[in-house]
Symmetry: C2
Subunit: 406 residues, 2 copies
């Protein structure tokens, strides 16, 4: 590359890396490969007919607005709908508490832009979501890993680690990416208290909360935080930014998600978004609103739960049946992912090229640990492959593992 | 706001401001106000029927792909189409030279992320595009204003200012926002040479290049730079990043634009975009490709030119007829904007509330000058209002001005 470019790159580019997962997506798209990598929803549950109808309505009744520039905050009826739906889970807010983003990844980026100076510390689960690491490292974040088990972040470990003066606590409470685990209600309360005592805000990232196959719904951290404070019902002024998305309930190809926060925090995120891309596509926002009005998601989400739940069951059954002894996994109550731990002699990063040569792909677990570890772990996605694909892929992967353990 | 948030804001938030223009858009949307503020295309030229047809095709033939996650670089057939169309203007590139972004604003943000460290200097026209100032200030850019007249940036002034060790040169060569002026071919050559001598990359921002109403097309700076170097026809390795958009030829509500650059620069921008929002909406990209294939834009753009050209003519005629003596403007050969200079006793920022009270809006010129100046200037958009609206708005504005000059 010409020196004129490299010599002008900003210092932060040294902290940029291509995401292992996204590079893998390219390989795992090759014909014949069964991919448990990626985190793709199943196209079988995309509501294509509803989109078709809604496109016609939007382009007939709202064309001038839908194709025009819009406000940075987002399409008001969509934000109102998000308020209404959030209210069902005890999150009582107004449209000024909501910012529409291009997928949750943009919300993470905007949070980085607004909160993270170089050298700032972010407390996270270990392992944690790769996209958050990628988004925040660019701004110079350092990560403090808190011990995490099948019930999520361990409060005692948080209490120890938080003494290092952190800027943010990052949590994925439901069906965590990558571990699939869910933070217990007891731990949610405890973590809120610790965050409050140390005055550290919490980022609650909840892309999968709606996709629970079994067990009881646990209230969002934001709701529990509001309860604790006895906030005015419609004016949340607490300590949590809550993120969710239409990517897993509607379709990721629209790039539509949202952040919920105290109004003044939303204002700051809006300023950051103005400079980042002006606003999220108006057409997509009006389209999503048109599809989702009249409670479409209430009818659609049970279908997604059914399909993904069956695939999870199948994958767990095949693990029990086919995987060599010493391989364990966490049973997820929802979401998209199964977290697998192999015997220590397997390095899942080194095994991956062998797996791909045998036409099956997964994501090695190590990159999800910002401070190292997890060499013998892997994340397996069960939402995207068909049931036949899961059967075939699990056969292939079990053979690859057995071979590696000989 | 609770102290827990403010005390955790990053230092760069001090450099964030809400855009005057975008705050104005809200006011100027009030019923009865004729708005020459904003930079909105006319909804009269949105190809609504073509979008309707294309939505059905996309959701029938490409639904699984269009609603799914996609690659960060963008939809390959769309990037191929951009290569083909760029080739007509002498920009010979391959898809690896193209990144699809959420509007050009995102390309500006990604350039800031990749190139600008706090304190870095960016050379720009004065006045220059507000969105670039907003995008880059967040990363700590300082701006060096180069003298600019109705033929664009003045090379002699650049030659003087570039000695201050700049990181980037930012140019809007065609129908500049806000001045409407076009950089002459002679000056393009000279600026390329100066940039090459001092090894400073050029950002060529060209959202309006297709919207020429009169005069001769002038080759893009990137093409002239490639010619100078004798680059291999399809492997551009020069000194320029070129930005353009579908917002002004198709519809801004899709948020679709692109950056053209040497391949290794695109790779770095792709890494930045992965962390920022993973990718641009797949649905929108496939939709735009479906609408634009078979050279639709070749038939559609002449319509836009005709409508906007007539509105520009009308606005200029009314300025000649109605505005008080001492008010001057630059005749734009295309684009969306007329740049007006008033007698010095008028401060256009102070006049704006009076204008809005009289139900007409414009954008004061001062915010477009990163280092001050332009108090008696204003930007007037002629693309969005109807011809009747232009007549009424110009009458109102001329009365407001006359009153102010009494």
């Amino acid at each position: 590359m010409s020196n004129i470019w490299t010599k002008n790159f900003a210092n932060r580019t040294k902290r940029m890396q291509s995401s292992t997962i996204r590079e893998l997506l390219k390989i795992s798209n090759l014909p014949g490969v069964v991919s448990f990598a990626g985190g793709l929803p199943s196209p079988d549950v995309f509501p294509v007919d509803e989109f078709k109808k809604a496109c016609q309505v939007v382009l007939t009744d709202y064309s001038h607005q839908a194709l025009q520039y819009g406000t940075t905050e987002g399409y008001l009826p969509l934000r109102e709908m998000i308020c209404e739906r959030s209210g069902r889970y005890g999150i009582h807010i107004q449209p000024d508490n909501v910012l529409i983003t291009n997928g949750s990844q943009q919300a993470l980026d905007l949070i980085g832009k607004v909160f993270i100076d170089a050298g700032d510390k972010v407390i996270c689960e270990a392992p944690t979501y790769l996209g958050a690491i990628q988004a925040w490292k660019v701004y110079g974040a350092e990560f403090i890993s808190v011990e995490t088990d099948e019930h999520g972040m361990i409060p005692e470990s948080l209490e120890e680690k938080i003494k290092q003066k952190a800027k943010l606590i990052y949590l994925l409470p439901n069906f965590q990416n990558p571990m699939g685990c869910t933070l217990s209600e007891e731990r949610r309360h405890r973590i809120i208290q610790i965050a409050h005592e140390h005055q550290v805000p919490i980022i609650e990232d909840d892309p999968y909360g709606q996709l629970r196959f079994e067990g009881e719904h646990i209230p969002p951290v934001l709701k529990l935080d509001a309860d604790l404070r006895g906030n005015d019902k419609d004016d949340y002024q607490g300590n949590v930014i809550y993120l969710s998305t239409f990517s897993k309930t509607l379709a990721p190809g629209l790039r539509l998600a949202w952040a919920i926060a105290p109004k003044d925090v939303i204002l700051k995120l809006v300023q950051a978004k103005q400079g980042s891309d002006l606003h999220t596509a108006t057409f997509n926002q009006i389209l999503a609103h048109e599809v989702c009005k009249n409670d479409f998601l209430d009818r659609h989400i049970p279908l997604i739960r059914k399909v993904y739940g069956a695939r999870r069951d199948l994958m767990m059954d095949l693990m029990d049946e086919l995987f060599p002894p010493g391989v364990t996994y966490i049973r997820p109550e929802g979401g998209l992912f199964l977290w697998v731990t192999t015997p220590e002699q397997i390095d899942t990063q080194k095994l991956l090229p062998v797996a791909i040569a045998n036409k099956v792909a997964y994501v090695p677990g190590a990159p999800f640990y910002p401070n190292g570890g997890g060499l013998n772990t892997m994340r397996m996605n069960f939402s995207n492959a068909s049931e036949d694909g899961i059967r075939e892929g699990m056969k292939r992967l079990s053979l690859v593992m057995k071979e590696a353990l000989v």
